[in-house]
Every structure is written in structure tokens, then in C-alpha cells.
Symmetry: C5
Subunit: 381 residues, 5 copies
């Protein structure tokens, strides 16, 4: 593998619009530990730490709120022993040192920390003794490009630690809501915050779905009339994005399903109702992906049919031209022969006839008319 290929999550681009075709989408999601290395390996994969991660802290109950941006790990640690709900959010790709430090400070499971480090994991829920660990993959829209980012969540009894590997910050809206006193996030326990983060990650698929829907509609208008190579390219691009989205959504669905079904101590039944709503959204997105896939397949068939249609049209024209003129050319060829009329009366006496030329012209016209009648009957013209 070439060394210069970036191996981090943002390498998996999703073309956001028709204008951005054939860009470098990598099928292999990137990071894996070398076979034989010990589990819980935290050596930094290439691309990690490319942009400095930022730590946000919120410590709150319904009335009071402490908020710290870009706080240090030591600062954060203090709030975790308070009876209030505490949320530590790490935005961006942390380096191995930070991840290890956080893991140690909050006693998180080694395997979970490995998954945080090596983004590009399937969505999953893992119940460790003291924590619930969840991974959700989500499209990350930043700088006009779309990549796949990973949200990793640890849910304790009264705290949440979240990691988001993307460049954009879709959780600003959640923080905003948490700043309002007596808002549901503030009143409910951390499990509602846990839900809110997952919900935000799950819902960020929808603007993408809408864009895909519009691209399909656009293609439907083009492909019938103009089966160009760009259209083929765009259909293929669409298909690979849908394959990617499907690979992203199926584990998400399973993860949400097991979150609803299984009885996790940390999640109240009230929040479970909200998670069910979140599950519905995910299934809805999957339904759309499946529909889109079928439409993309259908589009390709239409594309191929249009090509065939076009070929037919071309062939028809060629055949009509050839069929009309080849016999005529033969006739003119006959009377272009140089048989010696003076040597024998059998040699091309037509050439000396008084109305030979006009009669021949008339004959050729008749041939053309007959041909055209024949084509009409064959419904070629």
C-alpha cells in the first residue's frame, strides 16, 4: 500500500453532489491491528492526532450548570465524583497518549479504548460491568466534504464520556439544549443525554438521504434521454455510496435494537421509549437505502436499455441509407461499365436509347419508393 494514502476515517468521502464525481473513495475502512498483536493495542494509527482534540465538560443538575471548554483531564476528573451528572466530550481524533490517560483516569475497559482509537468500527453496544459502551458511525460534514466519523460513548451511573472523531461538531445543538435550565436533558438523568447524543448521530444521516434522493431524481430525468458516460459514472458512484451507507446503518439498527430489548441498568424505561423513536428513525433510513438501491439498479437497467435504444436508432439510419443507396450505386456502376458498344449490338444498348437516362432515373426513384414502403411496413421509419 502506498504510504502517502491517509488512513483515517475522513478518507472515506461521500460525494455530496453531482459535481463531485469519482473522487477518492476507499473501500477498505482503514484501521486494523496487525494480526497477532495483543488486544487493547493503542499505538496510534496513521492520521491520528492530525488535528488537536478539544475536551468539553458539562456538570449539571436541573438547576445548576458548570461548563468548561478545552479543559484539562485533571480538571475534568474532579467533577466526576460529584453527585451531579457529568458529561465529558472529546471532539476530534485524540492521540494514543490522551486516550490512554482517559482510559486510566476513568477506569474504562481496554478493548473499548482500542475501539475508540481505531475508528471505522461497526456500531455496537457493549455492556461492561460498570459502564455501557456504545459506538455509532455517522456522516461527518466538514469543509464541504462528507466523511464517516465515529461517536464512541461511555455511560456510567451519573456520567458520560463521549468521543467524536469527526471535524464538524454536530453536538453543538445538544449542548445548547443542555444550557437551558429545566430542559428535559437537565431534568432527566444522564441516560437521556446518552439518548440525545445517539439520536443526533443517527439523524445526521437524513440530510444525506435527501441529497441522494434528489440525485436519483435528477438521474431519472437524464438517463432516459441522454445515456451519457457521466450518468453511468454517477450511477456507479451512487451505488457505492449506498453500499457504504447500508454497511453503516445495519449494525446501527442492530445496536439500537439490542439497546431497547436488553435490560441495561443505566437506562430508565422512560428513556427507552425515546430510544425506540430513535430506532424507528434508523429503520426508516434503512428502508430508504434499500429503496434507493433498487432505484439505482433500475436506473442502470434503464441506462443500458437507453443505450440499446440509441444503438438501434443509429443502426436504423445506417441501414436505411445503405439499403437505399447500395442498390442504386450498383445500377449506376452497371452503366458506368465500358463495354464496347461499337463491337457488338449486345453490349449495353440501353446507353444509346433515346430515353435511356430519364427512364433509368425514374426506375431508380421507383426503387427508392419501394424501399421506403418496405421500411414503413417494418415500422423502421
Amino acid at each position: 500500500m502506498p504510504a502517502d494514502r491517509p488512513r483515517h476515517a475522513s478518507a472515506r468521502k461521500l460525494a455530496p453532489g453531482p459535481g463531485r464525481l469519482r473522487q477518492a473513495v476507499h473501500h477498505f475502512p482503514g484501521r486494523y491491528t496487525r494480526p497477532g498483536t495483543a488486544p487493547g493495542d493503542l499505538t496510534a494509527p496513521p492520521g491520528a492526532g492530525a488535528f488537536k482534540p478539544v475536551l468539553f465538560l458539562m456538570d449539571f443538575d436541573a438547576q445548576a450548570l458548570v461548563e468548561k471548554t478545552d479543559c484539562s483531564l485533571e480538571e475534568a476528573r474532579q467533577y466526576f465524583d460529584s453527585p451531579n451528572a457529568t458529561w465529558l466530550h472529546v471532539q476530534g481524533m485524540p492521540d494514543a497518549g490522551l486516550v490512554q490517560a482517559i482510559g486510566k483516569a476513568f477506569d474504562l475497559h481496554l478493548l473499548a479504548m482500542e475501539d475508540v482509537m481505531h475508528t471505522g468500527q461497526r456500531a455496537k453496544i457493549e455492556a461492561y460491568e460498570e459502564q455501557l459502551f456504545a459506538i455509532v458511525s455517522t456522516p461527518d460534514i466538514a469543509a464541504g466534504e462528507i466523511a464517516v466519523a465515529q461517536l464512541s460513548l461511555f455511560l456510567g451511573d451519573n456520567w458520560i464520556i463521549s468521543f467524536f472523531s469527526g471535524e464538524s461538531d454536530p453536538f453543538k445543538a445538544v449542548r445548547e439544549r443542555a444550557r437551558v435550565d429545566s430542559s428535559r436533558i437537565r431534568k432527566s438523568g444522564v441516560d437521556f443525554l446518552f439518548y440525545s447524543l445517539i439520536d443526533t448521530a443517527v439523524d445526521s444521516i437524513f440530510p444525506l438521504m435527501e441529497d441522494l434522493g434528489e440525485r436519483i431524481e435528477g438521474l431519472e430525468l437524464t438517463v432516459f434521454d441522454d445515456p451519457s458516460r457521466e450518468a453511468l459514472d454517477e450511477i456507479h458512484q451512487l451505488k457505492r455510496e449506498l453500499v457504504l451507507l447500508r454497511r453503516l446503518l445495519w449494525p446501527q439498527r442492530d445496536m439500537l435494537n439490542s439497546l431497547i430489548r436488553d435490560d441495561h441498568r443505566q437506562i430508565t424505561s422512560g428513556t427507552r421509549l425515546y430510544l425506540r423513536d430513535c430506532y424507528d428513525h434508523c429503520v426508516h433510513a434503512l428502508d430508504l437505502v434499500e429503496s434507493y438501491r433498487e432505484m439505482a439498479s433500475s436506473l442502470l437497467e434503464v441506462y443500458l436499455s437507453s443505450l440499446s435504444n440509441r444503438m438501434n436508432d443509429i443502426m436504423k439510419v445506417l441501414t436505411i441509407i445503405a439499403t437505399v443507396f447500395i442498390p442504386l450505386s450498383f445500377i449506376t456502376g452497371v452503366y458506368g461499365m465500358n463495354f464496347d458498344r461499337t463491337a457488338s449490338p449486345w453490349n449495353m444498348p440501353e446507353l444509346g436509347m433515346r430515353y435511356g437516362y430519364p427512364l433509368l432515373m425514374f426506375f431508380m426513384l421507383a426503387v427508392v419508393v419501394l424501399m421506403l414502403v418496405f421500411f414503413r411496413r417494418k415500422r423502421w421509419i
Copy 2:
């Protein structure tokens, strides 16, 4: 996304007949909350409140019936405390204010109200503590066009609140039946009315299915003989409608299944028997959709085969013409050369022969006959 695109349910058109191809069908069902917004968001999606919603009220037992059309919410509220069965039906797209008011007045769950507001949801059944909440999607035939509308139902102990987002009113027939004293609806509890509304919504798929069946039959007659571009267009249209219908029916089937299987306090075992019948109808429609999908795929294959067949026919004609005349033209070309017969006796002596011309003509005829025999043997003509 262009701002002028209507974002409400009726935008998803289903072409009702062959005459209405390639109309604006949007693949993305439309409404979704922005990622990160709080659950239970009731801000009006674009297109909501486009036509004024109407409230119908029925309060009845087997003998007595009170009916109010276009009643106010306050009027409606009074009847809900009576021991009689009460049915409040909201026809049309209500605005956020009305939905909120209803939700507050009857103590309906916030998430359910959000689903009522943002139509285009998957069919589902949700058991809240005091109410059963159901969503069924149904084709809505109004003004000659077909769109997808959503029926949202709340079933309480002795009341039903229903919302229907479509323009047409398929529940007129149900009201009619409810007006007859001692009819089954009047005698049975509200759960039978609940069933009746769902049954009506489920059954409204059948006229559509019948229409689709006829269009497929029509295509089967055309496609063999005349694989035109219109036929291709129509097949693709068919496919996308079937994809849509399938997306609509699968959740409906799941929802009805869970309604039968699970033990909901509000539904008596007598009504469950009727719901099983309704489930059968839904499965029947799904069977048809799957069959139609296969027929549509088969049609496309036939279309492509017909195109190929046609191309073959054209190629055959071209080949026969070319194969017959090109050699003949060559021969006439030979005798059209101007080799100087006077300069050498080796130069084209045939031109001076007494029967040169007739013999050549005869030779060319022989070539044609041989060619045609060859084609016959190849079974091209």
C-alpha cells in the same frame, strides 16, 4: 434543496394510469427533524396547514348518537368524559398550534404528536401507558392524483382520536355505517371502530393494485411487438411505484402482526379476529406487490430481448443488402476501369466480346442466387 419544492406527503405522487408518466415523484418522503433538535419538536414542516383541517366528532352508544362536523376543540373535550364511545377525527394537515392543543387537551405523548405532525412515518403501533398509538400509511386519491397520506390513531379506553393527512376522506363510509343504529360499530366498543378505520386504510391499497395489474397486462401486450421508449419509461415508473408500495406495506404488515400478537388491554379478542382478517388483506397485497415486481423485472428482460431481436432483424437486412450488392458493385467497378484496350490485347478483352455484357449480367444474377441460397441455409431469410 430548492425552497419551492413542496415538502408534504402529497408530493409523493403515484401515477394512476399510463397517461400520466414521469411526473414528479420524490424518492425522499420529505419531513424530518434537523439532527440535534429535541424530541417532540412540533415546528410546522413546510406544507403543513396548506388546507384547513376539519374536526368531526361522534359520541355514541348502541342507541344514541351525537354527531358534530367542524366542531371546536372545546366542544369536543366535553364529550370525552361521557361513558359513551367518542370519536374525534381531524381531517387534513393540522398546523402546529392545533396539534399541540389537541395533545395537551387529551394528554397525548409528545413523541406521538411529533409523528402526527411529521407525516411520512412508517406504519407502527406504540403502546403508551394510557393510550395505544397507531400509524398507517395509505394512498390518498384526491383530484385525480394519488399521494401517500398518513392515518394516525389514538385509542383510549372509550375514545378514539384520529388524524388523516390526506385531502380525500376515505372514512366517510365508516361514519355512514356508524350512523345506523345497532350497527356493529355502534354495538361493539371503540376497538371495533379502531379496527374499522385501520381496515379502511389498509383496503384502500386494492384499487391501486388492480390498476397496477392492468398496466402490467397492458405492457405485456405492447412490449413484445413494440419495445418503444415509452414502454421503457412506463416499466421504470411501475418499478418505482412498486418500490414505494413495498416500503409502505412491509411496516404495515409488521404493525398489524404485533397488534394481533401482543396483548393490548384496549383490544378485545373479538376484535382481534377482525384484525387478523385485516392482516390477511395486507399480506395478500404484499404478495401481489412481490409478484408484480417479478413481472416488472421479467418485462424489462423481455423489453431488452425484444430490442435485441429488433437489432438482429435490422442487421440481417443490412447484411443481406450489403452482402449481395457489394460484390456486384465490385464487378461493375472492374468493367468501369479505363484500361486502354487499344494499347494491349491483354487489357480487358471482355469489353469487346460479342456477348460480354449479357454474360456478365447472367454471371451477376448467378452470384445473387448463390448468396440467397447461402442465406437460406443460414436461416437468415
Copy 3:
């Protein structure tokens, strides 16, 4: 929808042999109640009562047998109170009045009666309190044509009421067996008769399957050598019949499975053993249908490949002819030019050479030979 289209089951024709292609097969099975009508609607669908239904009655124990053909409903009613087993069979499409009368006389469930009336239902088993109600769809061979008919069965404690909507009477053989004293039907209870009727209906798929198998084998011989339009038509016809058969057999399989699995009071464990055999037959038929479907798909691919092969052959001939003669024609064209040899010694001196003509002829021959060598190397000839 045109009013003159017959809407009853026999409209769904199955072409029994290759000679009967492209007949009117309707994809939509036909009858449905208008959305919003009350359940248990018995208004006659179009086509009902087209031919007068006949009632057969058998009342028997192991030793004694009373048999009545074309008996009246009142006559039949009397035998039902006897301790003997009683079988009432209604052959043909009954009108609404008769169905209603039978339903009332024997206290059958309204929803079941509706299913009897509106044939074209999916196979199913429905356990009402006092009766077991079963529907099996079966091909109905009458007057050389094959349609889909519905067998509806009510099984009580010591009686059976059966309706068969087809024109033919496949149950003659069962009656014949029942006439033999001490035959298994006579000795066992009504549940064995119930099994016998279902078994007869299930097994009547096999002659059809055999016919389909032969048609596929026939096509396999034709399609390789002669990819004609008739073959395409026949393959498509095959596919649609297989789609129909599959839609017919899957519910049948589910129905038989639930009949074996569930514990119905009316069915003894001895009979369950026989029903398991019947289930095996149904699964066997389904296996065949799936195999046939794959073979039909494979046939279509072979068809398309054969078409392409054929096109290739044609193109080869065209190309060889054109490639050989077009250059030759050009050469003759050159020496047909009228450059004035008298005006300049540079103008076509070849025309005056002594061996110009024979040399040219030899040159052209050499060109042809070279071309043919080239084609051989390309393996085109």
C-alpha cells in the same frame, strides 16, 4: 376498469401447453371489497353464480352411507344432528343468497363466509370457537383450460362443509373412496375426510408441474438453436405462471405447517401424520417451482446469449464481405478515373501498360488472400 372483464377466479388462466400462449391472464386476482365496507360483506362479486352450484351430501359411519346429489339446504340440515359423520359439498360458484343461507343454517362465522364468497384468497387456516376453517387454492382443469379455484372447508365436530369454486370436480375420487364400506375414510372420523380433501387439492398441482417441466425441457432444446420470438414469449409466459404458482403454494405451505404444529381439537394425532405427508408434498412442489424459476431465468440468459451469438455471426459475415470488397472497389474506382492520359505522361500510365489489367487482377487476388489469412488468424472464419 372495463365492465366486461370477468372478475371471477377462472379468469386467471394457466396456459396448459405450448400451443396456448399469451392468453388473457390477469395478474390481479380479482375480488375485493371496496375500502370502507363493513366486514362480512356478502354482495355478489361479478361472475358469481355464473353456473348453478350443486350440493352433494354424504352422511356415513363405517357401515352405513346416505348419499344425496343436488339436495336442498333443508334436506341437508337434518343430517347434521345425527351422530354420524356428515359431509356437505357445494360445487361451483354459489350466489350471495345461498352462501348467506348456509352460513345461517350452520352458524358459520361471517368473516369466513365473506372469504368463501370472494374467492382468490390466500390459503389459510382459521380456528373459530366451534369450527376450523381452511382455504386451499388449487388449479382447476375444466374444458381444456386451467384456472385457479378455491376450496373452502369448515370442519366441525362430526361434520364438514366444503365449497369448491371451480368448474371441474376433483373430489369425485374422494366420494368414490367414501362409498366403499370400511374404507379408511368411512372408518376414521371427519378429520380424515378433511385431510383427504386438502390432500386432493394439494396434489392437483402435480400434473401441472409435470407439464411445466416438459415445457422447460422443450424450450431448452429450441432456445440454443433458434432464439425466436415465440421462445421469448413462451419463457415469459412460463415465468408468469411460476410467479402465480409460487404465490399459490407459499401460503399453502404455511397453512399446512400451522395445521400440523398447532393443537386443533378437531384433528387427531393419527390424521396429523397424514397431514405431514401432505405438507411434504406441498414443500416438494415448492422446491420444484423454485427450481423451475431458476431454470426459466437461465433459459432467458441462454436466449439472450444465443441472440448475441447470432448477431455476432451476422456481423462476421458482413465484416468479411465489406472488408474484402471495399478495398477492391476502391482500386477499381481508381482505374475508373478519367484523368487525361493524353495531356500528361504522369496521368495513369498504368492504363496503357501491356500487362496492366492482368497484373491488377493478380494484385487484387493477392489482397483477397491476405485478408482471408488475416481473418483466419483472428479466428473469424
Copy 4:
């Protein structure tokens, strides 16, 4: 259906090698009872008793062994009452009389006897009160041809009765092993013999699988370079054999699975371990069949692509020839016109120019060169 078609199992041939294409493979497995006949019908199907069946008997414990070849039924009957294990094997297609006699003598269930008689059944396991009845289908290699044969097994407390409908005798090896004193078969109970017979039948699929694998590999080498009609034929043949094998193996897998899972009195837990191994073999064969099916599909796609490639090559040559020579021919045509140069100085003065002919030749050469450059740029040559 023609009367002279053999209707027995051996009619379903599997082509063992590429040299034996397009032989008479019948899709319909053959035997079925007419709809309406009583269950347990033992009338001989056509083809039964075609070759005389032979009875083998073995009565053994770990030390002693009595073996009889071609013994009579009466002889066999005596050994069944001994405490030793007894194995009666019927090799070949027995006639109805023999089957009935065996059924009576050993008190076997009527439905099972019908399945023995009508070979071509799906593999299954059926637990009757006193016996376990198993059917396994297996390829039967005899006289260089491969057909499908049926092994039917009855397992009692200390006896086995087995029927094998094929011509070859794959169970010779089992008898051989049973002749060795203190071999596992002799030491273990009859259930181990039961396993050994099933294992032999299941494993006989593997030589076939190997042959299929080699045929696919052979095709992979041919199809790329030479997409001939024979290759198409062979691919289709392959596909139909794989469809057949799949239909054969799936029920086998289900049957073995239920044999392991369910608790049958006659089978010890030690033997169950061996049956699990046998199940693994069956699943392995199924895996291979599925892989082969995909490879066959891929081969067909490659075949079609190769055809298209070939067509492209041909078209390219045609186009190059035509594109080069048609314009040249036109030019020669122009100077072959007979405009009267004496009548007007405007009429074709080029013909009288001193270097007219050489210049024209040079011009035509230039045209050819330009064309070739154009083609190169289009990457056609």
C-alpha cells in the same frame, strides 16, 4: 406426455463430464400419485421392477456374523427375532408385491412404504412409534451414467431395513467393514450401522462435486478466449445440475439437522457425535454448491462480456475499413464522372493537369494517414 418416457429416478441424469452434454435430463422428478388416490397407494409406477431387486441379510453381534445374499423374505424374517443386530438390504427397484410383503412382514407404516415405492422423494426423517424412517437421495453411478437414487431406511430397536433404488451398490464398502470382527460397526449397535449407511450416501456427492469443480475450472480457461456455443451449452448444463444438486442437498441438511437435534430413542449420544460429522459434510457440500452456482453465474457474465468484446473487435475492423475506404472511393468516383471537358473549361480541369493523378494519389494517402492518426487517438487500433 409421451407414454414411452421412463418415469423412474434413473431418468434424471447428471452429465459426468464435458463430453456428455445435452442429454435427456428431466426436470420433473417423476413419480407422483394421481390427485385423489388414497394415501399409502402402492401401485407400481412405470419403471419399477425393471431390474430384479436382490435381498442381502446380515445378522451379527461383535463376535458372530451370519450373512446371506439373495435370501428370501421368509429366511430374513427368522433372524429378526434374535437378540442380535439384523440388517436387511434391498438393492434395486422392488415391485409392488415385494414392497407390500416386506411392509406386512415387518409391520412398517403404509405412508413410509408408499415413499419407498415412489422414489424421488425429498430427504426426510419420520419418527413412527416403533421405527425411525429416513430417506436420503444420492447420486447413483452405474454404467458410466449418473442418476439420482433413493436410500430408504427403517431403524428399529435392533434391526435395520434398507432399500436402495440405484443400480450401483455403494454399500459394499460398509458390508466389507461389517465383516471384520470387532470392527466398530460390529461392536456398536444398529444405530451406528444406520449412521454408516447415511454417511456413505451423503459422501457419495463428493466425487461429483470434484468433477463439477474441474468442469468450472475448464470453462474458466475457455470462456475468456473462445466464447463458443458449446461453452454456453456447458454453462447452462452446469447450472441445471447445480439446481438439481441444491434441491437434493437442502432437504438432506434439514433431515440430518433434525436427526441431531431431536431426541430419538433409537440413537445413542455416541452415534449422534458421528451424525454431527455427517451433517458437517452435508453443509460443506452445500457451501460448495452455492459457491459453484455463483461461479457459474459469473461465468455466464464473462461469456456475455467476451461475446460483446468480440463484437467490438469485429465492429472496429469494419469501421476502420469502411471509414478509410468509403471517402477514398468517393474521390475516385468524382474523377470517374464523365463531365464533358471539351464543352466547358469549368468541367473537371483537374483531369487535364500535368500532375493531377500523382497529386490526387498523394492527397488520398494523406487522407488515410489522417484517418489512422484519428483512430489511434480514439485508441481503436
Copy 5:
């Protein structure tokens, strides 16, 4: 089958890069016991013992470690009775004698030993009374070629015996980790070592997956512009490798799933957590394989579409050339006819006109322009 074909696992090559196409990949995995042979047959399959197997021994607790390379079986036997954890690893294809000796020495089940001997088995887990027996298939990269090798594992109470049939030794890294005092492998029981070996085998799929991903990306760039035969070959190669990988991974997934789910005495709950991580890796690889399969299918469609596109381009050029020049050639043919202008004033008077030639030239130019306008409007140029 030719005798010289190697029948061992390394025969199933996986092409590691685009440069190594169409090498000898055998679809049939190779080894099977002849039908009818006794279970537990250990006769050496062809290819066994090709390279001498090496035995590694490790006997350890957290503090102490004894390590022996290439030790004899007798040496090894001694360590197994110690309370320490003991790991015996057999690297390479052992001959029948050695396998039998090991089986006897450690009392391993006969069926398991057969599976060790006949590599190419599906991954599985088998719980014998005293041991847990696991098989995992893994790609074996040695000498630049990739083959499929089998890891067979026996897990006892405090010992592991492992066989690896490949040439390379992926377990070096595990031994390295085990040499570190107080490493997790040394501290945890043998079940953690068991996990480590399986994890190493499972993870060795990832470098392959990455390579496949890159090849697909490479193809995506080529296929659009240059649908060459090599690309087709490569796509087919890709597909067969993916079919193989899928056949390898599915049983692996099932095996890991049952290892997690079932309650095996030998595996502690701590290790089960790690196995769950291993299962996640396997599912992730499967997800990728499925995605790749879809991409490969899509690539083939793109390939075919590109071919069609190319054909269209060629046809267009041919048609334009032919359509422009064939009529022109006809015109020149007309004026090349030798009608005798002296014999009649009707015969081709145009030839004697003063501006005949220039006018004709102009007319022909006009025809060309008209044609080109026509083509523009048809959007062919």
C-alpha cells in the same frame, strides 16, 4: 482427475495482486474420504507430509516459562501432567503417523484427528467430553503466494494442542508475547491463549481485505475508460476470490458465535469478552466481503455498459461516414454512367453544361452540410 495435481490446501491460491491473474485456483477444496470408508480414517491425503512438521512446546505460569523448539512427542508428553499451562504447537502438514501418535498420546477424539488430517474443513467448534476442539481457516501467506491453511485447536483444562497446516507461521507474534513475564497470556489461563490463537487467525484476513479493496479501487479507475479484456479477467478473478473468502468467513462467524453463546467449561467469562471482540472483527470482515461483492457486481455492469458505450461510439462514426459518403458516391456514380450523349439530347445533358461540374460539387457540399445538421439535431456529433 490428473494424478499430478497437488491436493493439499496450498493449492487454493489467492491472487495477491493484479499482476498474478488467472493462476491455478481450484474450486474444489481438495480432500475428502472416499464414500463408505470408516469414520476416523487417517490415511494420508496426497500432499501431506510434503514439508516436515515442527513441534513447539511452551510450559508456563505467570513467572516461569519452559520453551522447546522441535521437541519430540515424548518430551512434550511430560509437561502435560504439570499444573502449569502447556501449549504444544505443530507447524506444517504432519503425516498420518504423527497425527495418530499425538491423538493416542493425548487421548484426542478420532473424528477430530480426521479433521486435523484432512485440512480444508469448515470452521467449527466441537465440544467433546474432555476437550474443546476448534477449526479456523485462515489465509496463509508464504513465498509470495497466498493459500488457505487450517488452524486446528484442542483446548483442555490446562493445555492447548494446536496444528497449523500452512507454511508461514503467523503465531510467532503470540509466542513473542508469551515470552514476556507477567504478560496477559502468562497471567491468564490457557483459554486466553486459545483466544489469542483464534484472534491471530481471524485477523490475518485483514491485510487481504485491504489488498482487495485497493484492487477494486484500481479497477474503478480503469473500467470506465478502458474496458479491456484484462479488466474483465481481473473482475472475474476478484469475484471468485470473494466467493472463496465468503465460504471461509461464514462458518468462522457461526463458530465464534456459538463459542460466545454456549457455556463451555474451559472458557472463563473474562475471555468470552475478548472472544466477542474477535467475533466483531469477523463480522466486520464479512461486511466488507459483502460490500466488495456488490462493488464487483457493479463493476461488471459498468464494464458491460462501457463496452456498449464504446460500441455506440464506433457505430456512430461508421454511420456518419457511411451516411455522408454513400449518397455522394451514388451521385458520382450517376455521372460516371456512359449514356451516349450523342445519341439523344435526353441522355445526361448535365455533363455538357458550362457550370455542371462546379454546380454538382456545390450540391454535394450542400448535402454534406444538411447531413451534419441532421446529425447535430440527433446529437450524434
